[in-house]
Every structure is written in C-alpha cells, then in structure tokens.
C-alpha cells in the first residue's frame, strides 16, 4: 500500500527540491497541485495520508490553516524556509500543523521527510465491513449521506450507535433520545468528528439500537450541528468553485 501525498506548491517546476526527495521515496505516490482551490477540490474526492504545503512561511501556514478548517482530520505539513515569526509558529501549533524548515542540508531535510512519511506506511487497507444482520439500519453512503440518516434518526428520537466504515477509517456517532451525545473518528472527538463524517461520500454505515455512550463530547442540539456543518460544507465547495468554472 502506497502512502499518498497531496502537495501544494505554486511553482513545482522551479522550486522542486522537496518534490525530488518525495519522488525518490519508495511506496510514495505524490500528486502536485498549484492552488489551494485545486487542493480542496481533490481532497473532497480522494483520500490522502498527508497534505504538504510548500511555500513562503506566511502564505503556506495561511493555506494550511485554511485547509485544516475544512478537513479537521487531515494530516498537514508545512515546508517553509526558517520561520522567525513566533506568531506563525504558534498558529501552526494550534492548528496541529507540522512545520518543517527547508533551510538545512539536503541530507537533513531528506531524513526528516522520510521519517514523517514512513510513519504513514503502517496505516493501510480498507477496514472490514463487520456488518451483522442484527443491525437495525444498514446502508451505503453513496445513496444516503451521513446528514440524511442522522437527521432521520434524530427526528425519530433514536438511541444507539452509528458506525461508519470507509477507506478513511471507522467512526462512530452515539445518539441518545435523538441527540448526538458522542462522536469519535481516529483521534478526533466531538463536533470535529461529526464534521469529518459529514464529508464522507463513500462507505458503509450501520446502526445498533440501544448502545449508549457514557462519554459526552457533543453538547449542542442536532439542528445546530446540522446547520453549521452544512454551511461549512458549502464553504468548502465554494473554495473549489474556480475549478468548477473550468
């Protein structure tokens, strides 16, 4: 299984030092884009293990932060020249963006990049379906979006656990009397995990009645979550509108 990288670099022909290093790595597939709107367009349709933003510190961190807002579970890395501004560093830390300084020797940069990329090698494969006939609701996200099925379950005051399985991994949403009580996806919990699941357009889901979470990570009513997430999704789609016009 190859590690997939999406690389945002506005000048990939002439500023290709890091690109050449990624090319030399085994089991790494790279896709290069020049603009953020292109990157968002692709991220909405395909899965990548890591999103790499290369460029001037302020621009690159700005673009990475912007992407983070729309794809909360995505691993993001910024490749920039030395960052002297502590504000930018703080912003990157807050947004969980890995900063890699490129003003070092080729050897040092190559080993750093290799270390980062190799961390993704172990994660692979599509999770097993694990769907049981006793699950009260089973379906495909191609036909019903997460928003639709959650809306239906919340309206009918259900309590139980939704499990979503896709190539991105597994996630769970716990309902309690028609309210979202807890959501978890990878290291994300709460509203961040709900936002992530909203974007999924492929995969399977099933519902198990009566499984209640002891943990509560979501405190807002379902309708607020729905409106916020649909609005966010609209904003993400808007970012790609430049692509759509072509």
């Amino acid at each position: 299984m190859e590690t997939r990288l999406l690389i945002l670099n506005s000048d990939p022909v002439f500023e290709d030092r890091a690109l050449a290093m990624f090319d030399a790595m085994r089991k790494v597939e790279t896709r290069i884009v020049r603009t953020l709107s292109e990157a968002v367009y692709i991220l909405m349709r395909e899965n990548f293990d890591l999103f790499v933003v290369e460029g001037e510190p302020a621009v690159a961190i700005g673009q990475a932060t912007n992407t983070r807002q729309h794809f909360p579970s995505l691993e993001v890395m910024c490749l920039t020249r030395g960052i002297s501004d502590p504000k930018l560093q703080e912003e990157a830390t807050q947004q969980n963006i890995e900063l890699v300084a490129t003003d070092c020797s080729d050897f040092k940069l190559r080993s750093r990049l290799r270390r980062i990329v190799s961390a993704f090698e172990r994660q692979s494969g599509t999770p097993a379906e694990g769907i049981d006939p006793c699950h009260s609701l089973v379906g495909n996200l191609n036909q019903f979006s997460a928003a639709e099925i959650l809306q239906m379950s919340c309206m009918s005051q259900r309590s139980g656990r939704f499990t979503f399985k896709s190539s991105r991994g597994n996630s769970e949403i716990y309902l309690h009397h028609g309210m979202v009580r807890h959501a978890v996806y990878s290291s994300l919990e709460g509203e961040g995990a709900v936002a992530e699941i909203f974007r999924w357009r492929q995969g399977r889901f099933y519902f198990e009645e009566g499984i209640i979470s002891q943990v509560q990570t979501v405190n807002r009513p379902w309708t607020h979550l729905l409106i916020d997430n649909l609005q966010k999704l609209d904003e993400t789609i808007q970012m790609t509108s430049v692509q759509g016009k072509r």
Binding site: P12, V13, F14, D16, L19, A20, D23, A24, R26, T30, I32, R34, V242, K245, R246
Partner: protein, 142 residues
C-alpha cells in the same frame, strides 16, 4: 530501483500535460460560440495558465530533449492565444493552425510521458547491482 532523473522528467511532464489540458479547456470554451460572454475571472485564469506555460515549457522540453521538436509549436500556440476573447476572434484558418499545433505538442508529450513511465516500470523490477553490471558489460560489448 529508482532513477532520480527519470522521476524528475515524469514529474515535469505530468505538470506540463496538466497545464496544456487546462489551456485546451479554455480554447475549447473560447471556440464554442454558444457559450456566454467571457468573464474577467476566466481571462485571468487563462493568462495564469499561459504565463505558467511560457515560463516552464522551454525548461521542461530541455529536460526531456524535446526542445528542438516542440519549442516552436508551443510558442505558436501561446502567441496565437493571447486571450479567450482573442481566440474567439481568430479566423477559421488560424484556429485550425492553433489546434494542429496544440495537438502536436500534446501528442508528443503524452507519448514521451508514456515511454518514461514504461521505463520506470522496467527499472522498478531491477536492483542497482544487476543494472550497473548490465550497463558496464553492455558498454564493453559495444
């Protein structure tokens, strides 16, 4: 085994193919008279693509030894297509020439890209020692 020069050539050609495709999308749009009026934003995007191609084509063609064959044709396309509106106003003969030159560039870089990918696939099945030995003995025999 991975050859860094080959990887760079494939990467550069992939980027070129993408840019030429985008340029073609705009040219097609311009030539379709039923399409609505051209917006300033579309013109800006067109100029951006054109700017990238003007900057990069020569360099990329040099890297893959195609500069003699393609440079002239690429320049013809880029010089004739000054803007979307400009392409829309071209005569039938000029349009035909523009499309023929675009096609020549696109076909050639597509073919070379395929050859390089085939070479990469071939190299992936070899290891560095057998490859170096084969090259060494190959040269001696010649």
């Amino acid at each position: 085994m991975r050859d860094s020069t080959l990887e760079t050539q494939i990467r550069l050609l992939t980027l070129q193919v993408e840019s030429w495709k985008k340029l073609h999308d705009f040219i097609t749009y311009a030539l379709d008279k039923s399409k609505p009026i051209v917006s300033a934003d579309q013109e800006r995007q067109f100029t951006e693509i054109r700017g990238l191609l003007l900057q990069e084509s020569e360099h990329v063609f040099t890297q893959v030894n195609l500069v003699a064959e393609l440079s002239g044709k690429a320049m013809n396309v880029l010089q004739r297509s000054t803007s979307i509106r400009g392409v829309r106003d071209l005569s039938a003969e000029e349009t035909r020439r523009l499309e023929a030159d675009w096609n020549a560039v696109f076909t050639k870089i597509g073919v070379v890209q395929g050859q390089l990918k085939a070479r990469r696939r071939e190299l992936l099945g070899r290891n560095i020692i057998t490859f170096s030995l084969a090259r060494l003995f190959g040269r001696k025999a010649a």
